[in-house]
């Protein structure tokens, strides 16, 4: 509620006078706004009659709070901020050397990821670490991998894909069905699932090659829904919405198994106590390895002609064609590579859950993955990893809102506010960093020195 006062009067009035006046205005506006919202409330009495409850005390409290807040803001906070700004402007603009954490962000990140399960086990014991390794660690890393895969399509090639979850589903069902029916091992099915997802990536790519922007987005969205509907309705194969259960666990290359009944169960091999945590920790390192693979391939591809062609395609497709780049195959390779990583993540997901159903592959998943890519800064692996941590870790943390019950009383169900808080956080981040956490782009080659390219020059792509 910004009450603007003409500048001539500002000169005369001291900040406190002005603050007092604006506080009155703000209070009046609050009163006008809330008199019906807060002051009066319709309710039912015991006889089921509609009655009007009057809440003047609450209204008064809100109005006074508004007025006091405005008074403090105009009288004290604003002058303080102005002073701070003026001081900052006076001081010579010292070029801030990026801090230690920022300079070694990647190394620190890798070290933290490698040590994370160890730290959790030390802190909470094997049983206590389960939640932290599984719900947080593995969950976040799956989304990191998915987002890095989608980043190739959206962030590098600039092709807006709203149906990415379809490839995730293809990978998951490929492992679930081939694993349960033919008993093939995860290590054979992982590449197979990747190939199948890549195949479907190309299948999707062909019809949408000529589409751009909104049209492309709508068709990819439809593709995601088609795959989900096929999974639901092709009952003979996919078992419909009941899903596929009893998916075999991953073994350590067949050497060590994580099934208690097997002769080579890890606890028997290593002569340690039985625990479900071993499998989770193993899965954690498995998905971490897959993530590193994705990152390695993405970084390598960016420095190869095909990766540069993707980025050039995002910048200007017509110029690409004038330089002899076959935009058709370039787009298809982007779709296929992105889809392949989605397929890897999908088969890992199936192995981890032990159960897949079409419920897991709804549009919301695509939207979340895309949101992670956008929030992280399109094209930047580090930014996307941080975004996944914030988004997925954030929603998981928000499950633990029980302390709010102490504030709002025992009927309060904090889970309901999870998505609201989440949405608000996203809006705030996008206002604060419109190009995502990492808006700049790392050049793939340099003559003298590697300088990051500011986000204001890069384009988002239009197709």
């Amino acid at each position: 509620m910004a009450v603007t006062v003409s500048p001539e009067r500002d000169v005369v009035a001291t900040p406190i006078q002005r603050a007092f006046r604006e506080a009155l205005y703000a209070g009046a506006i609050a009163l006008g706004l809330f008199v019906l919202f807060i002051g009066l409330r319709t309710d039912q009495n015991i006889n089921n009659e509609l009655i009007l409850v009057q809440r003047w005390a609450l209204l008064g409290f809100v109005v006074i709070a508004t007025a006091v807040g405005r008074f403090l803001y105009v009288g004290y906070a604003q002058p303080a901020m102005e002073r701070a700004n003026a001081e900052k402007a006076k001081a010579p603009a010292a070029v801030a050397e990026p801090g230690f954490v920022r300079q070694n962000f990647n190394k620190i990140g890798v070290a933290v990821l490698l040590l994370y399960p160890v730290a959790m086990v030390l802190a909470f014991g094997f049983q206590g670490s389960l939640k932290w390794v599984d719900n947080f660690g593995i969950q976040i890393l799956i989304y990191v991998m998915l987002a890095w895969g989608l980043n190739i399509v959206v962030g590098l090639a600039g092709l807006l894909d709203l149906g990415y979850v379809a490839f995730y589903a293809v990978g998951a069902y490929a492992y679930a069905l081939l694993g349960t029916h033919f008993g093939l091992s995860f290590w054979i099915l992982l590449p197979a699932a990747g190939c199948m997802a890549a195949f479907w990536g190309v299948m999707l790519g062909f019809p949408v090659l000529r589409l751009r922007g909104d049209y492309l987005a709508i068709v990819t969205l439809a593709f995601g829904e088609i795959i989900r509907l096929v999974l639901i309705n092709w009952r003979e194969v996919t078992n419909g919405s009941a899903g596929v259960s009893g998916i075999p666990k991953v073994s350590f290359f067949g050497l060590v198994s994580f099934n208690v009944s097997d002769p080579n169960y890890i606890a028997k091999v290593l002569h340690i106590a039985q625990s479900g945590a071993y499998y989770k920790i193993f899965l954690y390192y498995l998905i971490l390895g897959l993530c590193f693979l994705t990152a390695f391939v993405t970084i390598r591809l960016r420095r190869l002609p095909v990766g540069r062609a993707w980025e050039a395609l995002r910048e200007d497709e017509i110029a690409c064609r004038s330089l002899g780049i076959n935009t058709t195959t370039t787009k298809l390779t982007a779709f296929a590579t992105g889809a392949m990583f989605g397929g890897f993540a999908g088969s890992f997901f199936a192995a981890r859950q032990g159960f897949v159903s079409p419920e897991s592959f709804v549009f919301l998943e695509s939207a979340i993955i895309l949101a992670i890519v956008v929030l992280g800064g399109m094209g930047s692996l580090g930014g996307i990893a941080v975004a996944a941590l914030v988004m997925i870790g954030g929603t998981e943390i928000l499950r633990e809102l029980d302390f709010l019950k102490a504030v709002f009383g025992p009927d309060f169900t904090p889970e309901l506010y999870r998505m609201l808080l989440f949405g608000m956080a996203m809006v705030i981040v996008m206002l604060w960093k419109p190009r995502g956490f990492v808006g700049s782009r790392e050049p793939t080659a340099f003559l003298r020195e590697r300088k990051a390219v500011s986000g204001s020059f890069t384009k988002e792509g239009h197709g």
Partner: protein, 392 residues
């Protein structure tokens, strides 16, 4: 033009090219040739269809009719109208630039030039697979491509900014970068769409140097669209003039400049007023322009060059429903032709000759005033007086 010249003398042969957009004939039955190792300029008023010719040559449009033949140095021949868009640079070695600059603005200068070497590097990287595993053959090709990029950055005088984003460059430098990028594809024919548009005189001069250097040292032939007559006259060996999609003149720069049809097409006035405009506008502005090069205020918006105009590109026009049918009578060149014919058959045109006589003296007075009376000045004045002579 030597008709007996062997086929391979011409790098590009355009024969009976037509391009229609619905009812609009953007190019009608256009034939011309570009010689190997020469700079051929394609000029014409706004909307004459120059960019459309480029789009046909580089495969962005499929021509309605006609044949475009490219003869490579090694003797192979490509029919450009049959090749898919991206194969024209890759196989026929034709590179182009755009009227509205199309750089990869978020990539550095060096990266822009590396993208241009895509096909070569793609082969060297074993279509990505060898490169992914870091095979040494790719590393060597990659180092070579960076050397080539450095070479062209030096030629374009941009090497100091190699690691800056292309979008950060000033306008003139972006134009040079676009040419350097096109050269990195190793073209035999380089098509430049208004490379001097929006350049200041200094930039324009360095552009001329760059183009001459390309012509002399790489053996690349250049096809050039240009409104800036100082550029056209200084560097081109051969000029083709278009008006409303039809060729109205073709020859060396001198003969084109003195062609009355070209003058009428460019000044675009009623035939009654041609002489008037020539004497009034031609003497003071245009002729001086031709002699001394572009003035200091020269830019895209306020160019004093008589042939400058708004910069617009037509590559993406296709769906704008901009269908204009041009009546034949609109062509100034056609009017000149028609009038010449009429005058020849009608000897009783003395009235208009008498009217024109006083104007002739007006025309000569300022011409005599100007100290440096050079060929450029005479060139523009002569056709006007010549025409009047014809009317007597």
């Amino acid at each position: 033009m030597d008709v007996q010249a062997s086929m391979n003398d011409f790098i590009l042969q355009v024969e009976h090219l037509s391009m229609k957009f619905g009812g609009l004939v953007a190019i009608g039955d256009l034939s011309f040739q570009a010689r190997r190792g020469e700079i051929t300029a394609l000029i014409g008023p706004n909307g004459a269809g120059k960019t459309t010719v480029f789009n046909c040559i580089t495969g962005f449009y499929k021509p309605t009719e006609g044949m475009i033949t490219l003869n490579k140095r090694d003797g192979s021949t490509h029919l450009l109208e049959r090749l898919p868009n991206h194969e024209i640079p890759a196989r026929a070695n034709v590179a182009r630039t755009f009227q509205n600059i199309r750089l990869f603005s978020g990539m550095t200068l060096l990266e822009n030039l590396l993208v241009a070497q895509h096909n070569k590097l793609m082969r060297a990287s074993g279509y990505t697979f060898l490169g992914l595993f870091g095979f040494p053959s790719y590393r060597q090709a990659s180092a070579e491509s960076i050397e080539l990029a450095r070479h062209w950055l030096e030629k374009a005088d941009l090497v100091d900014r190699a690691d800056d984003p292309a979008g950060d460059l000033p306008y003139g430098a972006q134009r040079r970068l676009e040419i350097a990028r096109a050269m990195c594809t190793g073209p035999e024919l380089l098509c430049l769409d208004e490379p001097a548009a929006g350049l200041n005189p200094k930039e324009s001069a360095s552009l001329n140097e760059l183009l001459i250097d390309i012509k002399d040292n790489t053996g690349t032939s250049i096809l050039l669209i240009e409104h800036d007559m100082s550029v056209v006259m200084q560097i081109s060996d051969h000029v083709v003039v278009l008006e409303y999609g039809r060729k109205i003149s073709d020859g060396n720069p001198q003969s084109v400049r003195t062609d009355p049809r070209v003058i009428a097409a460019y000044l675009g006035v009623d035939d009654e007023q041609v002489e008037e405009v020539l004497t009034e506008v031609g003497d003071e502005d245009v002729i001086e322009q031709l002699d001394t090069g572009p003035d200091s205020a020269h830019g895209p918006g306020n160019s004093a060059s008589m042939m400058a105009g708004p910069v617009s590109d037509t590559v993406e026009h296709a769906d704008e429903g901009e269908r204009v049918t041009v009546s034949k009578g609109a062509s100034k060149a056609a009017q000149v032709d028609a009038r010449a014919a009429a005058i020849a058959s009608k000897p009783a045109a003395k009235r208009s000759a008498a009217k024109a006589a006083p104007k002739k003296t007006v025309a000569k007075a300022p011409a005599a005033k100007a100290a440096s009376a050079s060929k450029g000045k005479e060139a523009a004045v002569k056709p006007a007086s010549g025409k009047r002579g014809g009317r007597k």
